[in-house]
Symmetry: C2
Amino acid sequence: MASTIKDIAKMTGLGLATISKYLNGGNVRPNNKRLIEDAVRDLRFVPNEFARSLKTRLSRTVGVVIPELGNQFITSIITTMEDILRKLDYAVIVCDCRTDPRREKEAVTFLMHKRVDGLINMPTDSTGEHLKPALDAGIPIVLVDRILKSLSGRVSAVVVDNVEAAEKATRFLLESGHEEIGLILGNEGIYTTQKRREGFLNACAEFSLKPGEEMIRFSDYTLEGGYAQMKALLSLPKPLTAVFVTNYEMTLGAMIALNEAALKVPDDISVIGFDKLDLFGAMYPHLTLVKQPQNAIGECVAKLLLGLLSNGSALPLHQIITLPTQLCEGDSVRKLKRI
Amino acid sequence: MASTIKDIAKMTGLGLATISKYLNGGNVRPNNKRLIEDAVRDLRFVPNEFARSLKTRLSRTVGVVIPELGNQFITSIITTMEDILRKLDYAVIVCDCRTDPRREKEAVTFLMHKRVDGLINMPTDSTGEHLKPALDAGIPIVLVDRILKSLSGRVSAVVVDNVEAAEKATRFLLESGHEEIGLILGNEGIYTTQKRREGFLNACAEFSLKPGEEMIRFSDYTLEGGYAQMKALLSLPKPLTAVFVTNYEMTLGAMIALNEAALKVPDDISVIGFDKLDLFGAMYPHLTLVKQPQNAIGECVAKLLLGLLSNGSALPLHQIITLPTQLCEGDSVRKLKRI
DNA sequence: CTATGAAACGGAAACGTTTCGTTATGAAGA
DNA sequence: TCTTCATAACGAAACGTTTCCGTTTCATAG
């Protein structure tokens, strides 16, 4: 049977309160400090987190709800967060909701039952309904990558400047003389999808271009989706000269579709992809890419949540942090005209 | 303030024990059942897991220690496991140890402090030292993908038949007439690496071939590693006619290196890769692949652990489950001779 | 030496369950 | 109507912490 604080009390002759106090960083007389430390070592004492949580109402656990674990962007963020949180003794419970709002809601309920201290969510349900119960319960929430208008001011968030990212990429294509540009987006309702579409359209408008609806394809941020939409784009009557794909997995899928169609990049078609510079940057031809600061995002999310968790009962100061992206030039975009 | 079982007692006039019993699936009189259900609904009662855990000494939480979250094979297994476990109300705490034995040991300690009911581990430390404390504490352990000899009989495990997988792949190359075959393996000490090497050598021996040490490259199961080792193989004085790469990420890396070297598959060099049929299978040329049953592995691990968790204090019947792999033929292997 | 006050100490009451051992209930059989 | 007996209900004692708040300790000043 594991030893308890009572065993330490018995062994040292001290009171429970004193020992508890010391274990939580309080001051005790040097002599007692030594006594306690010895006893802890001899008895291999490990505090019972259950009892501690029961009293403090804190689990030192945070829940993470994501649409999909098998996604490079997401796992890289989780890895960074988990690292920071675990160092501060927070456990991370990951719930993959498979991009299904019903499952997402279930995940939030589940995590509330597990009494997580905080919640990190890359939301699937863009209404934000799923988070209401957590909000009502006063659980601090940090959104990642996507903002929910309906929760404005009540949650923190870390996103990238999607509009600007898409503008930069599209502008780069336009300035290179491309006018028939395909766009492969993620799921229609989702924040990043909308923002990236917006940026794309902004840039087009700057060049007095109004791309047809058939050039703008919604997909689902998966390899298969990118593959299918690239195929669809290739079967349009009017051939494209360029395509902009808006996440890593879809970029892979699109590249596969281009390979299958025996189209050469950039000779037959120009491509701008997304994320994972190490992979695409190494490919031949080096892809021109929009790069998101994945580590910074993870770090930011973790710090933000830790801030909310530690500020106790004070009014939570929710903030939205927008990080910049970078357009990394490769040689997958053909210059149709001198700039 | 959240309501407790006491509030329900007050509202229904029943005793604590009766309510607790009912909530845990016990029988109560139909009339009382109705009373309790009504009260639970009205008071929005949610059992306090802290108190429950304190009494039962069970957290309904399992820990998962892995070498690397950003790895397709691993995340696909975790997704499957998490799904099954969460349905049964088990939370999954994921710890990424970055293929670092020190961090791995820390992760096990951390999870023990969090008092997980069980442990799932894809071990980095091949001595198994890191799991000893958990073993001593009587925490059920299931290993994934890798077996630790030193823990034989004390833990369960789910692996694939790595020797056979490598034999099949290598034999396929040999039967196609290849004799200069490169092999790209993972980290040297690791179980799968050793087994896949063994299978490779077995097949070579069948054909009375003794590949030089320089043809067998150890790496680290990452894209960068596969890329670097493919480069190294290409710079050997004697050119290869084929290469066998033994995981997904390294296969990607190797393909990039081949692209960069402007080598055509299978004309200039034949390739057999690993995993992720959807991606490589769709690529042109379709890669010939060793496919591991990732879903089955995840399912098996979850079921095995659940079995250990539910058999209570009975002697744990540890088993090692070996699942078969499949060689999926594409057109990345050139026939140098008629079979 | 005593008075003083800050710092350390410790007893006891929570926190919200589960469970043990006992008692109450009520339907069936005598 | 009275036993009998299986079943359900119950009171109280845990589980191992933290914390409130009254008490003790002890260094320093007087």
